[in-house]
Amino acid sequence: MTSRACRRTFLAGLTLACLAPAAGADHLRDPEGPVILTVSGAIAHHNAGDEARFDLDMLRALDAREVTTSTIWTEGAIRFTGVSLDVLLAHVGASGSTVAARAINDYTVEIPASDATPEGALLAYGMNGAPMSRRDKGPLWVIYPFDASVDYRSEVIYSRSIWQLDRMEIRE
């Protein structure tokens, strides 16, 4: 682990433990469109029992971030738009160390909370300005800035780059 990664871990822990939810309330607003992401586990804010459910508009309402990078699964550089994982975790008041992410084909992978940094993992919902269909690995695809650093071009990071994401469980 590089010192940079260490610092990232520390910042992420700080973020998860201390940051207040953006809404400033325990109750998140309810989704109006189709639910594309369900967050469960160690979270402080919910809107359906102990889960937090999001439709596309709710995610778009959060601070957006863009990452332009190529991937090993697509051709050429792509401009991804989405919500930074750290922003989303803060929004639901997550306090765990691990995010168990699951795709619609039941592919599951664990993403450490340390990946949730302002420059780290991105929950992309747009590709080159257009929404991502399921056939284009949408509606949500965890993207890392692969081109930005060799640290993001490892098998572990590729395995965390889960597409067709629909669930996240925050674990202690």
Partner: protein, 703 residues
């Protein structure tokens, strides 16, 4: 040797270059390997096998969803659409992902992918259609999917085969690189090992050479030391008998001789001293490199010096029909300060050299003093001959050691060829110059220029008031002891003789002497040990100056002598002038009352001496048989005779003692006994001016 060194250097350079090349190749290979490993580590392949097998799994899921939809009511169309989309997405990855480009280049893989794409393109509008249309299309989709199953199988199998081949190639490449790296590394290790061995060997050789060099040096030094030791011993062996000769000549000189005899004896003395100086010069040549010759400054009479040399060489000159003379040029200088022995040696060498090459001609010595200041000046001696001369080509070499101009030299002149070499060394040591000019057939001029000190006219020592000293002489050699004893008594001092170191120590402990003369080379207790014992005894003479009497003095000896408590050194044979100078330094000068009995001997002692003399003479007249007894009694009385200044009697007694020791038939003692009787007759008429003379001719007739 130089060539070997060159090869060594060349070999070492080659090996070093080889090692550098190996290191370079290792570096390149390591970089290459690192690149390959990075390609392996910085994984751009994802899990290709996973993705391929997953495409098949997802297709089966899609087929299963289709089957379930067909046989259930209402059909779960959403599941069908989901599984289709998942599969669609997977195929899209296989079509677009750069990591599958190699696979797509495979015709079989590409054909299968095209077939799948055709299906997807056809199925997609139906999936997107309204539910009833999709329900209607389900059987057809199910059939198409069943057909597509084989294409999917071909896709995954060919993909995996290709992937395996690629991975194999990559592993092989890494293996090849690793093998090359290992080979080069081995070579590098080998070369380095060889270099290490080589440098070790060179180091050992250097060490060996160094050791051999050190051994050679040690051997050379040991050889030099052996030579020096040999010379020192030989000098002792030569000088001890020479001491006897010179001492006796000196005594002879002081006896009553007619004019001719006096001249012969004086010439003998001069030649003897020249012989002594020769021995010393040879030793000097061997022992001293220029700059290490120890020179003394003493006041000497130039006239006397030159006259002595001319006198000593006169017979030699006459034998060759040469005239030998010397003369002042300019204002004569009575005395100069210089090393007498060195100066004498130089001039003697030049003169004898000139005489060697001159037949029926003339050798002339000119001397000239250039008085620069009151105290300093320069003296020049010129030895001019009318001899054979020296060729111009040979002239520069005549001062080399062991130099003779040609083979005939030895035949004509004899000699060691050392003469001019020694002269050069001495002149250099005296900070002077020496040179020569010559014309073949006409003659040569050799000149010497020396810086000198000009002493004040009279030495105060020679006018100092007389003082009588008590002197202990420790000397194992009977003749040397007698000579020393006699010489000292003639100078008006009293002598206590000691024949061994122990005797000397005993005497010095019992009595306070003014001076102790100590022979160095003695059996049992040598002079150094005796001097030490006297110094540490705390006895009556513990503080008395002790002077070493020795023939062999090496520079390193002086320190040893000083350490043993010896004040200074008198070289043997003991010479009167040197002894006088030494005594003068001690504050005493000779009274020069030769054969004059000391005034302060108590009358009782005198009477006893007379009685003992009478007794011995009477006893001898009875022709005793015991030789040892004769020798002992003569010896004892001879010592006493010396104290009383009875030189003639003493000498006669010594001659008798020697004859007795030598085992001369007693019949031949007769002459000696007769002589003693004469002496007794002389003694019977005291006050008579003409003291009895010991006729040398008669003494010599004794075998």
């Amino acid at each position: 040797m130089e060539q070997t060194g060159l090869i060594h250097r060349f070999g070492a350079g080659l090996l070093t270059a080889l090692a550098l090349v190996c290191a370079l190749i290792t570096g390149i290979l390591a970089a290459q390997l690192a690149g390959e490993l990075r390609a392996l580590a910085g994984n751009s392949t994802d899990n290709v096998q996973w993705s391929l097998s997953q495409s098949e799994v997802e297709f089966l899921e899609f087929q299963a969803a289709l089957a379930r939809a067909r046989h259930s009511d209402p059909p779960d169309l959403e599941a069908v659409r989901l599984e289709f989309d998942i599969f669609y997405s997977r195929v899209g990855t296989l079509e677009a992902g750069p990591i599958y480009s190699d696979m797509r280049a495979q015709p079989e893989f590409d054909a299968a992918l095209t077939e799948i794409r055709t299906f997807l393109d056809a199925a997609a509008p139906r999936m997107d259609a309204a539910d009833p249309a999709l329900i209607a299309a389900l059987p057809d989709l199910s059939d198409s999917a069943a057909t597509l199953r084989h294409a999917l199988r071909r896709l995954t199998v060919s993909g995996l085969m290709q992937f395996a081949a690629v991975m194999d190639d990559r592993r092989m490449a890494i293996r090849r690189t690793l093998t090359r790296l290992a080979v080069v590394a081995l070579a590098l290790v080998g070369v380095l090992g060889f270099l290490a061995w080589y440098s070790h060997r060179v180091g050992r050789q250097a060490l060996h050479h160094g050791r051999a060099l050190a051994e050679a040096r040690d051997r050379a030094l040991a050889g030099e030391k052996a030579k020096a030791d040999f010379l020192a011993v030989m000098s002792h062996e030569i000088r001890t008998p020479l001491n006897g000769i010179l001492g006796n000549v000196a005594l002879l000189e002081d006896s009553d001789l007619d004019a001719d005899q006096a001249r012969f004896v004086r010439n003998m003395g001069v030649s003897g001293r020249v012989l002594l100086d020769h021995v010393e010069s040879v030793l000097d040549l061997a022992r001293f490199t220029p700059g290490r010759i120890a020179l003394t400054q003493e006041s000497l009479e130039v006239d006397r010096l030159l006259q002595d040399i001319v006198d000593s060489q006169d017979s030699h000159a006459l034998a060759q029909g040469n005239r030998l003379s010397w003369a002042w040029v300019g204002t004569p200088e009575r005395r100069i300060c210089a090393d007498r022995a060195a100066l004498q040696q130089i001039l003697l060498n030049l003169v004898s050299n000139a005489l060697k090459f001159t037949r029926h001609g003339e050798v002339r010595v000119e001397v000239e003093v250039d008085a620069r200041t009151e105290a300093r000046g320069e003296i020049e001696f010129r030895v001019i001959d009318t001899g054979a001369g020296i060729a111009a080509a040979d002239l520069p070499h005549v001062f080399d050691d062991f130099r003779t101009t040609d083979a005939s030299f030895g035949r004509i002149a004899g000699g060691t060829g050392l003469g001019l070499g020694i002269a050069r060394r001495l002149v250099q040591a005296m900070a002077g110059e020496i040179g020569g000019e010559s014309t073949l057939g006409q003659g040569s001029v050799f000149w010497v220029r020396l810086p000198i000190l000009r002493p004040a006219e009279e030495s105060p020592a020679e006018t100092a008031a007389p003082e009588r000293l008590r002197i202990l002489v420790v000397e194992d050699n009977a003749i040397n002891l007698d000579v020393a004893r006699d010489m000292i008594s003639r100078l008006g001092h009293s002598v206590t003789p000691a024949r061994t170191g122990r005797e000397g120590v005993a005497a010095a402990t019992a009595e306070a002497f003014d001076l102790i003369l100590m022979d160095i080379a003695m059996p049992e207790m040598d002079g150094l040990a005796a001097a030490c014992a006297i110094r540490s005894s705390g006895g009556a003479s513990a503080k008395t100056p002790i002077v070493a009497l020795t023939a062999n003095v090496r520079p390193e000896d002086r320190d040893r002598f000083r350490a043993a408590g010896l004040s200074t050194i008198l070289t043997k044979p003991l010479q009167k002038d040197r002894l006088i100078r030494l005594l003068a330094r001690l504050g005493a000068v000779p009274t020069a009352t030769e054969d004059t009995p000391p005034d302060d001997i108590p009358p009782g002692l005198r009477a006893r001496f007379d009685r003992e003399t009478e007794e011995l003479l009477a006893w001898l007249a009875s022709l005793p048989e015991d030789r040892a007894d004769i020798a002992r009694r003569c010896h004892r009385l001879a010592g006493t005779a010396a104290v009383f200044g009875q030189a003639d009697l003493r000498r006669a007694l010594i001659a008798l003692e020697e004859a007795a020791r030598a085992g001369v038939p007693f019949a031949q003692f007769g002459v000696l006994a007769e002589r003693l009787a004469d002496l007794r007759a002389d003694r019977a008429a005291p006050g008579e001016g003409g003291r009895a003379r010991l006729p040398e001719a008669r003494l010599r007739s004794v075998p």
